[in-house]
Subunit: 298 residues, 2 copies
């Protein structure tokens, strides 16, 4: 099945975009992999859609084994050899598209991609067995991960540096702590690193209990310079976690299981891309989106 042109309604800036803009993955092309748009052709023509970002070949051994997100021949929308959604239109394989229900608004829909990534954790880790979890980082993905984990894990804490960002968690009933107040006693069953920083893993290894689990949720462009002996000594399980189930994310939004209100804090036209990227690194910003439908010339 071929690609469908999607008229972009809105597209969000992700931490990965900031790293790609600095040279991560050597990507050259149009950025943007979190989006909602209107399909212009195919079975979803005229309807709102979101799109999975891994465009796989559906033929290789990984695809046939159900690991389509890890297809060796894949392109990745806005990340690897496939132009992304910071544009009026984006081309997406029909097989990657999901319909957006009417009950999910555009601001929610633009967060389905990162929400699916947050929900990937519960596909990999048996959260019901987790007594206490800590999320490292107070940003966009951390917020979605904390909400996802708090649905199943008994006790969850979020550590960050920015009071404004941390307050967003407390409004959701999630406990927070400033990094400077954190005491490392190696007593967390689960540590989820959403820092997007090379400082995340060393801190995680100081927090996780022996035989506990560290989920690496954010990619870091830079090399790590880190003592990994604690992984062996404490027999830690380090789990890399990337893209997640769009279907589950959409169902969770329909069921009202996530509070995404107020998470989109800034809106820009595509022409304001440079300013938008500047704002996206500001702690006062949460999700910065390109409001394409209301600012394009189409």
């Amino acid at each position: 099945m071929g690609e469908v042109l999607v008229d972009v309604i809105a597209a969000g800036i992700c931490e990965t975009d900031l790293q790609l803009a600095e040279g991560y993955m050597g990507f050259s092309g149009v950025l943007g992999h979190e989006f909602v748009g209107m399909a212009t052709s195919g079975p979803f023509a005229g309807a709102r859609v979101v799109g999975e970002i891994n465009c796989n070949c559906q033929e290789c051994s990984r695809c046939l084994a159900g690991l389509g997100n890890h297809c060796a021949n894949r392109t990745v929308v806005g990340i690897h050899q496939h132009d992304g959604a910071f544009a009026d239109q984006v081309a997406i394989p029909q097989t990657s598209l999901h319909l957006v229900p009417d009950s999910v608004n555009d601001d929610q829909a633009v967060l389905i991609e990162p929400l699916a990534a947050a929900l990937q954790i519960q596909q990999q880790i048996e959260l019901s067995k987790v007594q206490n979890a800590i999320v490292l980082g107070d940003g966009r993905l951390a917020n979605l991960c904390a909400q996802a984990i708090s649905q199943q894990a008994k006790d969850i804490l979020v550590v960050g540096k920015h009071e404004l960002k941390l307050s967003r968690f407390r409004r959701l009933g999630i406990k927070t702590i400033q990094l400077t107040d954190l005491v490392c006693e190696k007593d967390f069953d689960l540590v989820v690193d959403c820092t997007g920083s090379v400082t995340g893993l060393p801190l995680a290894l100081q927090l996780v209990r022996p035989r506990g689990t560290v989920v690496m949720k954010t990619t870091v462009a830079a090399d790590h310079h880190v003592a990994l002996a604690p992984i062996v000594i404490d027999e830690i399980n380090v789990v890399g976690s990337r893209c997640g189930p769009f279907g589950l994310a959409i169902e969770s939004l329909q069921a009202g299981q996530f509070d995404l209100s107020g998470l989109v804090t800034h809106r820009f036209a595509l022409e304001e891309a440079s300013k938008a990227f500047q704002v996206a690194v500001d702690p006062a910003a949460f999700k910065v989106v390109f409001d394409v439908a209301n600012s394009s010339n189409r």
Copy 2:
């Protein structure tokens, strides 16, 4: 229960000893944590024993949770705040001792500690689901790990640098490949890093398939300088693995499941420690032991 003085019969030099001698863990004291000896008191008095290396408090929350090997108050024989077995006698908690059956000879018994460590992998990973595994490293622990894994995993390959060491695997019916001939196609279900080198993990991440498992079996004193983004992108499971079940190791030896013949290649008196350590780093050596019973003045 108190400690028992054990008359050391033989004690082996491990990769960790070589790293400790170079400053790893800042240990100061008598090295040696792989040994067989004769208990001088307690219920095993006069009998041959081996000893687990983690001396735990049996009172803290980790001990009570069955994680005695991770007791926060533990000392570790020959590694951390507890003198080891490169001596005529070593003091070991009675609760850490295991009787050595008559059918297990001294050369086998001195390898029970690393054999238990090798068997720890099957406590952590469901090996029967592993289609293909690769062991990185051709040394002492790699040999035991390869034997342990080959009992359950369908297909196993060992990669190393030393033809002489690799030939020891082939004699056991285990396939080998020279590092220079290795093609990295990210297609192994399981990669076990026994290199004791910072080069092990980056290589492992080039070999493991997406959603596959990397077992870190050897500690490395040095910091790693490594790109860890592949762990996230390929959703790899990195599992630290340390000490293992002595009881299972002893049973496996009794059942003849491991071929340890010829693994002890060099024997020295304690007085020859400096020479013994030099030989232990030589690729031509396999297991170097202090033959204490036959060389001491007692």
